[in-house]
């Protein structure tokens, strides 16, 4: 490729923290006057949402931007979309840009579906003639049908989202910046949108795509940019970037199947008397098959004599929402540890029924009915359930279904 289509050089964005009030005004002016008198240039203290980012994107590349919440993904997209200016550095975009940072940009609830297609389309950078040419296709894609002449305030939320996405789906630009817009609508429509995005990705456009949905990111993109606390940590093939990101939460880079728990963040009594010292996923890779048995080993150390210890093994999604709990007491296991005792516990979940996605293991231990608990670790280990081994991948990943409870069905006629 001759010339890169996106060039980012030393891009930084700083935010001033704190409230705007008399005190901050006073402080700002004191600093200003002090700088002026002393001729010094005292820098203000800023919070850097992104710091010193540099990368280049070639025409036709489809790049996924990944990182946890607060890593600076949205800030980067906002700067490249020219919504806010950077504090330092520069970026050059060569070509027409369209950014999709939300679904339904520019929609007005009093206007009809038809009027909104035109309004939203022009907000997103289309010309009226271009929209006229594609109007029929957009309406058809949205499945709105006869409601197109009704004000959108009377639409159901599903209809609204479908129409809004349809406008976005027909954007024409050399560079597209897309932020998590796939996380809307019902499963069937999401599948359709993902298909449309794939078409766009394969049509030679340059796309910068941000999503928490690793399945979608991996599917659509070839290259990954992994941001952590505003800095670029990794830039390369998407699989490697995703693995780094998924593994990073436990402090280990790459595929983490075991984790030393001696120094991690914890709560409860935080292991003063009894603590978890390690966790290991046994005989399985980081990426586990759908509904395949999960085996774990937990290491512990007791600093005092503790009686009747019960262990809780919780599985949560990456946002920390707990999905299920496995208790040692359900297998009749209660530990009584002597001072200085070290040991190992094994557990297996034969049929996890977890839909594809990324999961977080949380560990808790308590003795008797002690409120505090001996030790609690919010993020002990992560693992991913492989979507390829899941027969109904799309419906499973795009809607947070939680655990699939085994159930028996019958039809009564």
């Amino acid at each position: 490729m001759s010339q890169s289509i996106i060039e980012v050089e030393g891009l930084s964005k700083g935010y001033r923290l704190g409230e705007i009030n008399l005190r901050s005004l006073h402080r700002a002016w004191k600093k200003r006057i002090k700088n002026w008198i002393q001729g010094a240039k005292e820098e203000e203290e800023l919070f850097w949402a992104i710091k010193d980012l540099s990368f280049k994107v070639n025409p036709g590349e489809v790049v996924g931007v990944i990182g946890s919440n607060g890593a600076g993904k949205s800030t980067l997209l906002k700067i490249l979309s020219r919504i806010t200016a950077p504090t330092e550095g520069r970026a050059v975009l060569r070509g027409k840009l369209a950014s999709l940072l939300e679904v339904g940009t520019g929609f007005h609830h009093e206007l009809t579906g038809r009027e909104n297609i035109f309004l939203s389309g022009t907000f997103l950078g289309l010309k009226r003639k271009e929209i006229e040419a594609k109007y029929e296709e957009i309406v058809e894609f949205s499945q709105i049908g006869e409601f197109i002449e009704t004000p959108v305030k009377r639409y159901s939320s599903g209809m609204f989202v479908r129409l809004a996405f349809s406008v976005a789906a027909f954007l024409e630009a050399d560079i597209m910046i897309v932020d998590e817009v796939l996380a809307v609508g019902d499963a069937a429509f999401q599948r359709k949108c993902l298909g449309k995005m794939e078409d766009v990705a394969q049509s030679g456009r340059t796309i910068l795509f941000v999503s928490h949905n690793m399945g979608a990111v991996k599917e659509l993109t070839t290259r990954g940019i992994y941001l952590k606390k505003g800095r670029l940590v990794f830039d390369g093939p998407i699989d490697e970037a995703a693995n780094q990101y998924l593994g990073a939460a436990t402090g280990n880079e790459g595929h983490a199947t075991s984790h030393d728990l001696k120094l991690v963040e914890r709560s409860g009594e935080s292991g003063k008397r009894w603590m978890f010292t390690g966790i290991q996923s046994v005989g399985q890779p980081f990426l586990v098959g759908y509904n395949k048995p999960l085996r774990f080993e937990l290491e512990y150390e007791s600093k005092e004599k503790v009686d009747e210890i019960q262990i809780g093994f919780h599985i949560a999604n990456v946002f920390g929402t707990r999905l299920t709990t496995c208790r040692s007491i359900d297998s009749g296991v209660k530990l009584t540890c002597a001072k200085g005792e070290k040991g190992k516990l094994s557990m297996v979940i034969e049929k996890p029924f977890l839909p594809p996605g990324l999961y977080m293991v949380q560990l808790g231990a308590m003795s008797g009915f002690d409120e505090n608990g001996l030790d609690y670790i919010h993020d002990a280990l992560r693992f991913e359930v492989n979507h390829e081994s899941c027969p109904d991948y799309y419906t499973a990943t795009h809607k947070d279904q939680g655990v699939r409870m085994p159930s028996v069905w019958s039809v009564d006629r």
């Binding site: 950077p86 070509g95 027409k96 950014s99 950078g125």
Partner: protein
């Protein structure tokens, strides 16, 4: 799809380059870019009208009736009770001319002032030249003012044909009415743009502005003619750049008013200054306002 190749080819031919930098020049307003967004401007103006009068049965009538009724109230309060002179023209026309011109100013002021806050939703999600938003609301305001003038014209004709006694006459200077109107609009827009950037960070200013805005109508010859003011105090009234503009409207439309060219020149000068200052501040503010507001 398979139209990606077309997209790339298009890019090479146009080769539009967008440079995003931390620094910016005070005078770089991207005015050329506004032209590319004329479709958006049109649709935004249309949206304003459509959404304002949706579910009303007599949409445009309300625009006219409001000013008319307000003028009727003024006729009663200031004309009959207050006994304030209207320079010998029918009070209803006198007040209508004043009110239409003044609301052109105050609406332009308010809407430009609100450009950031009322468009925050789109401003924080998509790029387009930010100036499009205030320009669109100015267009709506101008259209409303023109419609109101038409309404006033009808009343004018009615009075002219029914009561022969009134010495109403259009001045030939009425051909300059569009220029005077634009001047009033730009003055309001300039003040509004300045206010919009001042109120982003410290909202205190808002309360001062609301007070000043409310008082301005009394500092302007809307409910009284400039001729009411003693000669040696008129210079003070003329410091208000709006004074001569509104007197000029009344002069060309109703044939009454105290105008001279130096006062008009002063008003135009102030307008140009205020508008340029407003644009500079607006373009400075638009770059990072989403972080602060």
């Amino acid at each position: 799809m398979g139209d990606g190749g077309v997209g790339l080819k298009k890019m090479n031919s146009v080769n539009k380059e967008i440079v995003i930098e931390s620094k910016h020049s005070l005078w770089d307003w991207h005015l050329g870019e506004l032209w590319d967004y004329q479709d958006l401007l049109f649709l935004m103006v249309r949206r304003d009208f459509v959404s304002k009068y949706k579910q009303t049965l007599f949409a445009p009538i309300w625009m006219l009736v409001q000013t008319f009724l307000k003028s009727v109230v003024y006729v009663v309060v200031f004309g009959k009770i207050g006994q304030i002179s209207t320079d010998g023209v029918p009070p209803i026309l006198f007040y209508m001319a004043g009110l239409i011109s003044f609301s052109l100013f105050s609406s332009a002021w308010s809407s430009c002032w609100a450009s950031f806050s009322s468009n925050l939703g789109v401003f924080s999600k998509v790029y387009f030249p930010r100036l499009i938003a205030p320009i669109a609301s100015l267009c709506s305001i101008l259209i409303e003012a023109v419609l109101q003038m038409v309404g006033m014209g009808l009343i004018y004709l009615y009075i002219k044909t029914t009561s022969l006694s009134v010495g109403l006459h259009l001045h030939w200077g009425v051909v300059f009415l569009p220029i005077i109107f634009m001047n009033i609009l730009f003055l309001g827009a300039g003040v509004g743009l300045i206010c919009s950037s001042l109120t982003i960070k410290y909202r205190d200013v808002r309360y001062i502005i609301i007070f000043v805005q409310g008082m301005w109508v009394y500092a302007t010859p809307v409910i009284y003619p400039l001729s009411c003011i003693p000669e040696h105090w008129r210079w003070l009234a003329a410091l208000n750049p709006l004074t001569s503009l509104i007197e000029a409207v009344k002069y060309v439309v109703l044939g009454v008013g105290t105008v001279n060219l130096s006062m008009l020149g002063y008003s135009m000068g102030v307008t140009a200054f205020v508008l340029v200052l407003g644009l500079v501040l607006f373009h400075k503010a638009e770059r990072t306002f989403v972080d602060i507001i």
